[in-house]
């Protein structure tokens, strides 16, 4: 996912033939999905009951296995009772594209089943806020630490071994602890995103800082730059485009921690929406929500890539996304 996100700016440009491939990379899976959904003999292991006939436990709209349905038809015929009717269908967890497409709209307009539960857009907004605060807090601490560790060897030796160890601890493992310390609402969720991002962030940014051409620092020193101005006037602007790219990748990671984070304490946000909809078997809404997460993730990354090209006109790599 990171590689995908970090390159995502690239595939919007380029010659027409490659743009065609980009379109195809989205169209092909959808086409496959449509085939499985609309061509009756392709899969359709179930039968959607349209008329109950004499079967007492059938209900209209029920999905039964095809073998079971055929058995019932045979039984009813032998018993001389009314035959049930139905049409081939896929399992409920695979809604057809048009159902998901309409759910993309109706999910926003339908009131939640539970009174007082958040609407979809409220759930989304809540998720985005969790991501935002988790990422901002992590960056506020991780970026300066990373730059210091990348600049001063001593500082690096003091901090990086522990961080290296800590980053192997799975962030969700701290869920219970976070709840105990921070309560059941947003605190522990933000903490999980923070833990999931922060340690990687320090190491990645320290590395990026170390990769800055030493000659630039030496040139600045021969021009009379000393002390903290070496960091603010040379190191920081020197790594800024790469730092920005790192942050984009890390933001992608923060998204992957979101769903875990939202299950901690009282379930909330888009995860709450998805689990609720699955409980009521509204799988079209589940898919709609998943697609919305993807669109927001990819969309924000594309936006940031475009912004990067504006912000860093001198950076050649930025042009490649």
């Amino acid at each position: 996912m990171q590689a995908f996100l970090s390159r995502s700016g690239a595939w919007l440009k380029g010659p027409a033939s490659s743009r065609l491939l980009v379109v195809a990379s989205f169209v092909l899976p959808v086409l496959l999905w449509a085939l499985v959904s609309y061509v009756p003999f392709l899969w359709h292991p179930k039968v959607l009951v349209e008329e109950v006939g004499g079967v007492d436990y059938f209900q209209v709209g029920m999905r039964v296995d095809r073998a079971e349905f055929d058995d019932q038809v045979k039984e009813m015929r032998e018993a001389g009772e009314a035959l049930p009717a139905g049409r081939p269908a896929n399992p409920i967890y695979l809604p057809a594209p048009h159902e998901v497409a309409s759910a993309l709209y109706t999910a926003f307009t339908t009131a939640p089943e539970q009174r007082g539960a958040p609407w979809l857009h409220e759930s989304l907004w809540h998720s985005i806020q969790i991501i935002f605060w988790g990422f901002v807090l992590s960056s506020a601490l991780g970026v300066p630490l990373g730059i210091l560790a990348g600049t001063y060897a001593g500082f690096s030796r003091l901090t990086e071994p522990f961080i290296e160890f800590f980053r192997y601890l799975p962030a969700p493992a701290f869920g219970a602890l976070a709840v105990a310390v921070l309560g059941i609402y947003d605190g522990p969720k933000i903490a999980i995103i923070f833990i999931g991002t922060f340690f990687q962030q320090v190491l990645i940014i320290a590395n990026t800082t170390r990769k800055l051409d030493r000659t630039l620092i030496e040139a600045a020193r021969t021009l009379g730059t000393r002390g903290s101005r070496l960091i603010t006037r040379v190191v920081l602007p020197g790594i800024l485009p790469d730092l920005y790219r790192d942050q984009r990748i890390l933001l992608g990671w923060a998204w992957t921690y979101l769903l875990v984070a939202e299950l901690i304490g009282t379930s909330s946000g888009i995860t709450f929406f998805i689990t609720q909809q699955a409980r009521y078997q509204h799988f079209d809404n589940v898919y709609a929500a998943i697609i919305i997460i993807g669109v927001i993730g990819l969309g924000s990354d594309l936006l940031l890539a475009a912004l990067g090209r504006k912000l860093f006109p001198w950076d050649q790599a930025q042009k490649r996304g």
Binding site: E218, A219, A220, R221, T222, L223, R233, P237, W314, D315
Partner: protein, 304 residues
């Protein structure tokens, strides 16, 4: 390898001799005394410089030459204050050097321009660091861009310039600080031959027109002779001074002098110092073929 028909590189015309006498009367800008530099290395130390001593006078153009790995970069980086020396003294205007400073400008081989700053802002960097106002720094930068002929590119970024232009900006960026000496570490090494010779003439122009002393590192013999008043020849492992040669080629220099007898005599001497004949023989497997090549070649009869 006797250079029949060539004068000795030690022979100087009256004009050249007088010029050197005048140079020697000028104040000493840079003095290096018994400089040693050792790097820590796995299994002991690498001795990069051993007992290097020399003096450079005001407005002199000195080239340092030597095979790759003989400590040229170490020497110039020590003078710049980017490396600490192990023993000895580096005196600038009689005062010991401690760390990098504005009084010693440096031009690196790689393009060391700040990629995030425009050409003008790169040149402004030094003055701004020394506390000049934005306007003052900008005024100085414009003057220098005028002088190096890059006014049109003031608002371009370094990546939009050719290699030669970038090095011109790097020179301007160092000189705008009005250093006492300009240190240049193979500054034209990455340029193609044509650009390189244009840059050499350009550098001589700048040097003629402002009060600057230049220490210039190269491994190109022609470049050293074309540019320098004196050439410091280093020998490798460890880096030691072999000879400090006074170049007998008169000034002003032109590319036509590349085939003059003084030029060729100096080049032959440098060649002999840098590639000693006995070392050559060690490496030659097909030494049977070599003599015939020498017989065919007449050094005095230049192709050009």
């Amino acid at each position: 390898m006797t250079q029949s028909g060539l004068p000795s590189y030690l022979e100087q015309s009256d004009a050249v001799r007088e010029r050197f006498a005048r140079i020697r009367e000028r104040e000493v800008i840079l003095e290096v005394r018994n400089l040693h530099k050792r790097y820590p290395a796995p299994g002991g130390e690498t001795e990069a410089l051993r007992d290097v001593s020399f003096r450079i006078h005001r407005r002199e153009f000195v080239c340092v030459i030597g095979a790759s790995g003989c400590g040229k970069s170490t020497l110039i980086r020590t003078l710049a204050g980017l490396e600490k020396h192990s023993a000895g003294e580096v005196l600038l205007d009689g005062k010991p050097v401690d760390g990098p400073g504005r009084d010693r400008g440096m031009v690196f081989q790689g393009y060391s321009l700040f990629p995030w700053l425009t050409v003008k802002r790169n040149v402004m960097f030094g003055p701004q660091m020394s506390g000049h106002s934005f306007d003052a720094a900008e005024r100085q930068a414009r003057q220098w861009l005028e002088l190096i002929g890059l006014s049109k590119f003031a608002d371009s970024y370094p990546h939009q310039l050719s290699g030669g232009m970038r090095q011109r900006v790097a020179i301007a960026r160092a000189l705008v600080n009005q250093p006492r000496i300009l240190l240049m570490d193979e500054p034209f090494g990455a340029l193609d031959a044509q650009t390189r010779s244009r840059m050499q003439s350009h550098l001589l122009d700048i040097w003629r027109n402002i009060d600057i002393t230049i220490l210039f590192i190269t491994h190109d013999l022609d470049e050293a002779i074309y540019l320098a008043d004196r050439i410091l020849v280093l020998k490798p492992h460890p880096g030691e001074v072999l000879e400090f040669i006074e170049v007998p080629v008169p000034r002003p220099r032109t590319p036509a002098q590349f085939s003059s007898p003084e030029f060729l005599a100096t080049k032959a001497r440098l060649d002999a110092l840098i590639h000693p004949p006995e070392a050559e023989a060690d490496h030659d497997d097909d030494s049977g073929d070599k003599p015939s090549i020498y017989r065919l070649t007449d050094v005095a009869d230049s192709v050009e």
